[in-house]
């Protein structure tokens, strides 16, 4: 291995940015925190972290031009990973902010958790991964139990885009993917070894894939 892939982490002023960066670095990534679109040029992968409100984050993505970075990555086949709210932003819209537009990279919407249990879900929950996904881990539950903090969850239109499911008083979507775009509802950067291992697998898939460098207009 000759140095980790260069990963652009999009800064939408989310409180998990720092933790996400540290976890990526721990697993060997060469991280650049991006506040303006051109800073993402040349990245081999892009991460969209997120905590907070869908509408505000969608607005920030648009006003800073960082939504365009995520869309350029998807269009150019550069791997893109959304975390928590960053995953929800990959879809078209959310009940949390009617009228606000997501990135539309994975068709579907985001709905409030349908559960008799306490919302937000705050805590650890095992994920059932679809067979064959590069992100997932099968077998020992200790290796696929992650930390969640959320009130909403993704509802992709096409079930084929669901790669991980979990249960919180009812089933919900824990991970989604479509081509180079993937998203996880949980926080791998806060999920101890299981989370770091997932980040490691994602970085490995970036290395294993065709080497592409994100092109952004300057």
């Amino acid at each position: 291995m000759t140095g980790g892939p260069r990963v652009a982490v999009l800064d939408v002023e989310t409180s998990n940015l720092r933790s996400a960066v540290k976890a990526l670095e721990r697993m060997g990534a060469d991280v650049t925190v991006v506040t303006r679109p051109h800073e993402a040029a040349g990245a081999g992968a892009v991460v969209l972290p997120g905590v907070g409100h869908f509408g505000e984050a969608a607005e920030r993505l648009t006003s800073r031009g960082l939504g365009a970075v995520a869309c350029a990555a998807a269009a150019q086949d550069v791997p893109l990973l959304g975390i928590c709210l960053g995953m929800q932003l990959l879809l078209d819209a959310s009940d949390e902010a009617p009228g606000a537009r997501g990135l539309g990279l994975i068709p579907g919407t985001v709905r409030r958790l349908d559960t008799p249990r306490k919302v937000p879900q705050i805590g650890w929950n095992p994920v059932e991964w679809s067979p064959g996904t590069a992100l997932g881990s099968v077998g020992d539950p200790a290796r696929r139990t992650y930390y969640f903090v959320h009130s909403f969850a993704a509802r992709p239109t096409d079930p084929a885009h669901v790669i991980g499911r979990a249960d919180y008083g009812g089933p919900f979507v824990a991970a989604i993917a479509r081509g180079p775009v993937a998203g996880v509802q949980f926080h791998p950067e806060k999920s101890s070894r299981a989370g770091l291992a997932l980040i490691g697998r994602w970085l490995q898939s970036v290395r294993d894939g065709a080497v592409r460098r994100l092109e952004m207009p300057t």
Partner: protein, 257 residues
């Protein structure tokens, strides 16, 4: 899954109570301890800043910053948070949540301001409760349990949640330090009244106590300090005992990454 949470008391950036772990280069360093608890299978951590001097308080922000670099489980900072700017400082440094206690009792609007600015999921309200000498119920205390707040614990819990608390950290002053078990009556009363998670604190002494906090007290998480720091029980022992009692806990990954 029920969370198991070690609590570390920190004074001017150093762990106060002795910790009996082997293989630590510096047993007084909260970050090194936190990483050790992460490796042992702790689900979350709470740092309680008991620094008395005003000058020493910046150390807690530095602690949050260093912890976020080296520890990959959620952590909460409590103690000495008096304003939403205080809370911003620890969250921006990398803490996942911050706990308010006395300051929220003096100014309940603080909870609302913090929840609006950072989201309820970041805002923990810590409640120190003591059973009334006469009659039913529990009173709330502030300033580390020295001063009665003149509030009923259940009423305060409901108000705190209505104002935006995302989680309650409930310490029984009657049980704290006794090792007689969590106050399951207090926990059960509060858990039934609020729609947010309740962290049980105060009184852990035997392995049975942890499951009882959940089965009888309906707690969503269990917190302890001395039984972990003194090496009385490991995180694994507590989790195994809880699992044996039918409580769902996160399994521990032994193999590393």
């Amino acid at each position: 899954m029920i969370r198991v949470i070690p609590c570390l008391d920190v004074d001017r950036g150093r762990v106060v109570k002795g910790v009996n772990f082997v293989d630590l280069r510096d047993a007084g360093d909260p970050v090194e301890l936190a990483a050790a608890y992460d490796a042992q299978g702790a689900d979350e951590l709470v740092f309680l800043d008991i620094t008395a001097s005003h000058e020493g308080r910046g150390t807690i922000v530095e602690l949050a910053r260093r912890t976020a670099e080296q520890v990959f489980i959620p952590f909460t900072i409590g103690g000495g948070i008096r304003s939403d700017d205080d809370m911003y400082a620890v969250l921006a440094a990398g803490a996942d949540k911050a706990a308010v206690n006395s300051a929220a009792l003096r100014d309940p609007g603080l909870i609302t301001r913090c929840a609006t600015r950072f989201g309820s999921q970041c805002v923990v309200v810590a409640i120190d409760a003591k059973r009334r000498a006469e009659g039913d119920g529990w009173d709330v205390y502030l300033n580390g349990g020295r001063v009665p707040a003149g509030r009923d614990a259940v009423a305060w819990a409901e108000e705190a949640v209505a104002r935006g608390a995302g989680e309650l950290l409930v310490t029984s002053m009657d049980r704290d330090g006794t090792k007689d078990g969590f106050d399951t009556a207090l926990l059960g009363e509060l858990s039934g009244r609020v729609p947010v998670p309740v962290i049980a604190s105060g009184g852990a002494g035997t392995l049975d106590h942890f499951a009882a906090a959940v089965v009888d007290g309906h707690a969503d998480a269990v917190l302890a300090a001395s039984v972990f720091h003194d090496g009385v029980y490991s995180i694994r022992q507590v989790k195994e005992a809880m699992a044996a009692a039918g409580v769902a806990v996160r399994p521990i990954d032994d193999e590393g990454i």
